[in-house]
């Protein structure tokens, strides 16, 4: 697609809104470079494929060996993917991560999903990044820590527990969980020094960054986890 004017984008948004779900999916597929890679209309360096998925080397990688793992089926965002397909895909991601560790003799990997442009999603086809990592490779991921309002977190945790059906999950457990049992099973290993003596869940040694509190926890209610039509239109306009 050529560079689009704001009017064109508006027109595109209107057009998308008038489409049936089936038409919309067809339209997206037609304009999706990764669907074209899947159908072999566009060539790529495929390192793995099976009936449901395909893994290629990113041509503009974070590091050499950066893999893009995707389903053959077109989904814009992760929440649209059927759970069984998602599970299978991440098992493959784990195995590809393992393969990178051996093949490239790197010292680590990242597995990353970006949901939405604000999270860094660039492609309109849901994918998993598997990125090989080495000492001093120039990648600096930053996940800052900040002081959070613990009362608001309690309220949030409560709301999330309700949404996630946590009580039901616990009630359906066959037995009460016995933590001691697990320790015996764990394989013996060299002593691990204590990580931190603070009774908090946050791992230590993260890049510290202070940030003032913000008002949070307003329930916006109208948002959906699925693909937003305007986002899809914007994607197409930018990346088509």
């Amino acid at each position: 697609m050529e560079q689009q004017s704001p009017q064109d984008i508006e027109a595109l948004k209107e057009k998308l809104k008038s489409m049936s779900p089936e038409e919309l999916k067809e339209f997206q597929k037609k304009h999706c470079i990764f669907c074209q890679i899947v159908s072999k209309k566009v060539s790529a360096k495929v390192v793995y494929e099976d009936a449901k998925s395909l893994a290629i080397l990113d041509i503009n990688p974070a590091n050499p060996g950066h893999i893009l793992l995707m389903l053959r089926e077109h989904y814009t965002v992760m929440p649209q993917v059927p759970e069984e397909d998602l599970k299978g895909l991440f098992v493959t991601a784990k195995l590809l991560s393992n393969a990178l560790l051996r093949a490239l003799e790197v010292k680590g990997t990242n597995i990353l999903v970006a949901n939405g442009p604000a999270a860094g999603q660039k492609a309109q086809h849901f994918m998993i990044h598997v990125i090989p990592r080495s000492e001093g490779d120039g990648i600096s991921f930053v996940i800052p820590q900040q002081e959070l309002n613990q009362k608001q977190l309690d309220a949030l945790a409560e709301r999330l527990r309700e949404r996630m059906g946590t009580r039901e999950a616990l009630a359906s457990q066959k037995q009460v969980y016995v933590p001691q049992k697990k320790k015996e099973e764990a394989k013996p290993a060299a002593a691990e020094p204590p990580l931190d003596d603070k009774p908090v869940a946050g791992p230590p040694e993260r890049q510290q960054e202070e940030k003032p509190e913000e008002g949070i926890l307003e329930d916006t209610g109208q948002k959906k986890g699925g693909g937003n039509l305007d986002d899809i239109a914007d994607f197409l306009a930018k990346n088509g």
């Binding site: 080397l57 999903v113 930053v142 996940i143 099973e185 869940a201």
Partner: protein, 176 residues
């Protein structure tokens, strides 16, 4: 092994936490000092140092749960996106010696950085990497692999913990 592990401490209840999910195998808790409210850790209850040691079925469940957490925080908070992030090995930013996924709420202009400068490789460099990776992938027992090169199966399910991975494990044991 589980001694002194902060996540095992949370599982045992020795360390207080704000749980959002728990079942037989999996726990999800809010990061008390996270990048933003809703930042969540999803991890197996059983202690595994790195993701390679987590059985495949459980890997699938963990990521499916991370997806569920991601959707739930997206619907509960005023955010614009989420990342699901796994750091495998200290070099990759793994901070605790217990495999875990992070679900990170995102907004435009926040100070989380999970992006990179794209690198330009020559065709030759790309081909070299392709060959190396494919060779190893083809020798691995991948589930549902389409390629015919499924000759040997070292272990079913591909849960291979080779010496190479011990590097990650050993390095994580030395976290101060």
């Amino acid at each position: 092994m589980a001694d002194n592990c902060i996540l095992c401490g949370i599982v045992d209840g020795a360390i207080p936490s704000k749980k959002v999910y728990e079942d037989d195998e999996i726990m999800a808790v809010l990061d008390l000092n996270g990048a933003a409210p809703g930042h969540t850790f999803v991890f197996p209850k059983k202690h595994h140092t790195i993701i390679e040691q987590v059985p495949n079925a459980l890997v699938g469940k963990l990521f499916a749960m991370a997806n569920k957490v991601s959707t739930s925080i997206f619907e509960s908070l005023d955010i614009q996106g989420t990342n699901i992030f796994l750091a495998n090995g200290i070099t990759a930013g793994q901070l605790v010696p217990h495999a875990m996924l992070q679900v990170i709420p995102r907004r435009e202009g926040d100070n989380v950085k999970l992006s990179w400068e794209p690198r330009q490789l020559t065709e030759e460099e790309m081909s070299t990497v392709e060959l190396k990776v494919k060779e190893v992938v083809d020798s691995m027992p991948l589930p549902g692999a389409a390629q015919s090169g499924q000759k040997q199966k070292p272990k079913s399910g591909g849960e291979v913990i080779a010496d190479e991975e011990n590097y990650l494990v050993n390095q994580l044991k030395r976290i101060p």
